[in-house]
Symmetry: C2
């Protein structure tokens, strides 16, 4: 795991051990924050909710984050960037925007279905990191004619609207097990993807999944 | 305007004048709440924020609503139901799910573009009333083969995901003037609507608009 905030704020006088301890504390705060925001939403929690959930002092909290708002943004960007980048790595070698986007979305929804807390958190807070990766596949497809849409802007907004609504549905625990695959198929259809490419993206065996990666790292 | 909450709570001993005054107060609270929630989000506001914005006493507030949460739900459902029902009325006589859904969405996005406070409120709070009306058009189209989708569930979720993300974009003030039309076109394409029907829905002159209706009532 990375802790971008830590690197930015540490001076050279700190020892490597100190920096590592600090990065672990920051990760601990981010992980606790994920649960707090998922349960209470983005606006209601106070500093003490995070202090209690992470088992740290207020002083330690302020060493890492200035406010709940800063923590909110950091937590959201951290967790979605991690997920999207790991999916992007899993897609290495896959050719063509329809296949990449289709398999990538299926992996993303599989992660959501395996982790309801994460799912509700992302849906509620909705400040995402790493969104340039799927956006690039959409733009590539529009440029080379694999996709068609009235504008790149609405194609991108429909993608993130679909993802958010799907996460709300999956997070409610009421989605069927093939829900993520169906939403992926519908989004590819939205971009006017031809039937053969949609079918290839639906049938492609999913590369190394999220959960396995985390365990093996 | 209706005040569903009022009817439910009044006894027969109240005079008509008293009921009308009470309904006006409730509408005043709902209208004030719209601005408060739009600015502060769904979780942060306290009773006093609404009391101050509506220019009423705390006692009057509690005559109408038990909590911020109850007011939040009432406000969201009230404002979206009003809008969707007025659009539904404007669609009277239009035949076919593609034409009805296309023109209806264009009207909805036109309302959003004309009223940024409303737009941000709906996007942030996201508890909507009247959603059975567009859902019915989607279901009709799927049943008679005008639309196609892997399931009615994902078709519905893509619709509301598209609407919410579009409202966030329009509410930011950065959307082009034809943004709502483009999103409508993309959603019809998502449902596999044939090009002739999409074109008819795009070219159809918009019936009596939201703004005009409000002024004339």
């Amino acid at each position: 795991m990375k802790a971008a905030h830590t690197t930015r704020r540490r001076g050279d006088h700190r020892t490597r051990v100190g920096r590592e301890r600090s990065a672990r504390t920051e990760t601990r705060i981010l992980e606790a924050a994920l649960g707090v925001f998922a349960n209470m939403g983005p606006d209601a929690p106070k500093i003490d909710d995070f202090v209690q959930a992470a088992g740290i002092s207020r002083g330690t909290f302020y060493n890492h984050f200035e406010s709940v708002e800063e923590l909110l943004i950091a937590t959201s960007e951290w967790t979605t960037r991690e997920t999207i980048e790991s999916i992007d790595a899993a897609l290495e070698g896959l050719e063509g925007p329809a296949l990449r986007l289709g398999v990538g979305l299926r992996l993303f929804f599989a992660k959501a279905q395996s982790d309801p807390v994460w799912c509700r958190f992302v849906a509620r807070v909705w400040k995402i990191g790493g969104d340039e990766l799927p956006t690039r596949d959409v733009a590539d497809g529009l440029r080379n004619g694999v996709f068609r849409a009235p504008s790149a802007e609405v194609a991108r907004d429909l993608l993130f609207g679909a993802i958010r609504q799907a996460l709300l549905h999956i997070g409610s625990g009421k989605a069927a097990s093939n829900y993520g695959t169906q939403m992926t198929e519908l989004y590819l259809q939205a971009l006017g993807t031809d039937a053969r490419r949609i079918s290839a993206a639906m049938k492609h065996e999913l590369p190394l999944e999220e959960e396995e990666k985390e365990t093996s790292s």
